[in-house]
Symmetry: C2
Subunit: 384 residues, 2 copies
């Protein structure tokens, strides 16, 4: 397998982009990545998107997007694994370049979520759960993560305030990210006083509905040396699955798929979690970031709440988590999220992250997951 | 890149499978492929599915299907490119094994289309067209292919009877395939007298709505030699895209994406189209097979109608096309079709195709496409 590097990244402002369609958002973002990489050709494309069928009545993005990017007849693939679609698209692009099949690969993620009403969006997102054993019975993701939060609080003593601190930290970081959907600070009191969604989760514990896209350009590491920006190598890639239904899990306070994916990615990179300078993780709900920090091995089981309370995962902490603002403040266009995580890590490793820069960062990790952890994808990035 | 072989295939009876859900159909079929290959492990999975979101309210098949197959935490990917999702899943599995990332890969395709009514199914299938410039204005696929048929008839003198002969040939072949949805013969008069769908296409020119799945197991060629069944090597893989909207094409009588994908696959295999012993192609409508036979280079432009009339593409002809019965008689569960084409070619190259066996077949080709040719995938298979 060939070594693979990221040579270009692109992202546009996320939010409720009513004046733009999915194809517009994708093309704008892809062009930024192509410009950043300085390449004049694309050998193949991968696009992560969760449910353009339900959100905008459009499948076949593998034809639509190269078409609107003016890149036909380039081969293109749409990859879906619910909210980990973007991370999985990155992994498929990585495998394509590593294999020798393609040299210059565009990996994008996109979701246009605001063309439907809230009920329809909730239905579309619910298709990431088990339709027959969860969604059909009325379960939605706030409810599923609320159960996980209750279990974690009962088992480990995680507090309601610690959940809030995840949101506060990520909004602190996001306030330094001009592309974030909600680039402003919030307070613990604000979270605790926000409207209840599914006990114990309140609206400020939840990532929002977002329109957005992100893109990166990959190529073999030896070719990357001749490109205009400093190359960032993808040193490790790991993916794992778990049961789709929460009720089938042994322990709903633990995300096994993330644990396995991280172990694989770290092993491929020849690194330990202690070596990592910053993390972009899947904080679709505040409890998710707490559980992911445990599954990645940043802290021991049950210590994720305490970690955020003590500042371990803050921008100035030993293990900064979600310097970009995370899904919470940056937004969560589901299929785009995994690619946007890679965009943030590459910017950090290049020293281009502005006010939210983690000083001297050399190694970064992204963790993207689908459903309640039915699928997880982890990548390790290393400045070259 | 490593050489890659197919070492196991599986397919179950296709049709209106009201007593089974998507997960049932997939698991039954995957288990047949695993049994056929005689393997006791799977390193990763790829699943082609066009629109489980719209058909059954279920995305995240990359978690659901390894779960129900009892294979968590194996990495899994759902691939979508409308009706070429299956062919594209095969290509991604091929790249995965070729790269060295995985050794034993399960590639499946599945679609459950009969849980919705006809109007909903037409809407779901229409998401393969351009939502903003085609579907929104009322265009559906019978209408789009009817325009292609009219243009082909006007430009090349292709006759209404020649269209019918494609359906008759494929039902002749399908009558010898016990897994086909419609394993019986039809006549030219029967086609011409069947109900009009979109002039000139009648219902017997159209592939049906089908529930079904198909699966294959891949591994590196050197490992394949130790497996229980004769290995079939994937000698070439090509993919190409074109504009999603028919109105953007230079010539609507020609499927450029199939032409380019075939040229790439043949070049990789070091073969010419004349070397191929049998073809499984995407006859979603009778006119499609005619146009594909031209794009592949089996005949010159405009000669596809004449080819079927003269028997060139019949089971006993020089270039047998769709010995399985094709989409027309075998059925067309959209995401499964591309994988089922590979199943048929492998059975033919192993000499296991029974009454529809093409004698002495050594080389086979599959061609799978999305929409009106917005994406195409071609593979070349060679008996080892």
């Amino acid at each position: 397998m060939r070594n693979v590097a990221v040579i270009g990244v692109g992202m546009t402002k996320w939010g409720e982009l009513w004046e733009k369609s999915l194809r517009d958002i994708f093309v704008e973002t892809a062009l930024l990545a192509i410009e950043d990489a300085g390449v004049d050709r694309i050998d193949s494309m991968y696009v992560g998107c969760m449910s353009s069928g339900l959100f905008i009545g459009q499948e076949h993005l593998a034809s639509l997007l190269p078409d609107y990017l003016g890149r036909n007849p380039v081969p293109a693939v749409r990859v879906e694994s619910a909210c980990s679609s973007g991370g999985l698209a990155l992994r498929q692009g990585f495998i394509d370049v590593a294999s020798g099949m393609s040299d210059i690969v565009l990996v994008g993620g996109v979701e246009k979520m605001t063309d439907v009403n809230g009920h329809e969006a909730t239905y579309a997102l619910g298709t990431a759960a088990d339709q027959e054993y969860e969604s059909y019975h009325g379960l939605t993701f706030p409810g599923l993560y609320a159960m996980m939060a209750h279990a974690h609080m009962a088992k480990y003593g995680t507090t309601r305030e610690q959940l809030a601190m995840v949101a506060v930290k990520n909004h602190d970081n996001g306030s330094k990210n001009p592309l974030a959907q909600f680039p402003f600070k919030i307070t613990v009191e604000g979270v605790l006083g926000s409207v209840l969604v599914a006990d114990p989760l309140r609206v400020l514990d939840c990532s929002p509905i977002t329109d957005g896209a992100a893109a990166v350009i990959l190529c073999p590491s030896d070719m990357a040396k001749r490109m205009k920006k400093p190359a960032v190598r993808i040193a490790g890639s790991g993916q794992a699955t778990d049961t789709i239904a929460l009720s089938s899990r042994k322990d709903i306070t633990w995300i096994e798929s993330t644990h396995i994916a991280a172990q694989k990615a770290l092993a491929m990179a020849g690194r330990k979690v202690e070596d990592i300078d910053l993390f972009e993780v899947h904080d679709c709900f505040t409890i998710a970031e707490i559980m992911v920090s445990e599954a990645l091995g940043i802290v021991e089981r049950g210590q994720g709440g305490k970690a955020v309370q003590e500042g371990l995962t803050s921008l100035q902490g030993k293990f900064p988590v979600n310097p970009s603002g995370g899904l919470k403040a940056k937004g969560h266009p589901v299929g785009a999220t995994g690619v946007a995580q890679a965009v943030e890590v590459v910017k950090q490793l290049r020293g281009e992250a502005g006010a939210r820069q983690v000083g001297g960062a050399k190694l970064g990790l992204t963790q993207n997951m689908g459903g309640t952890g039915g699928s997880s994808v982890v990548h390790i990035f290393e400045a070259e």
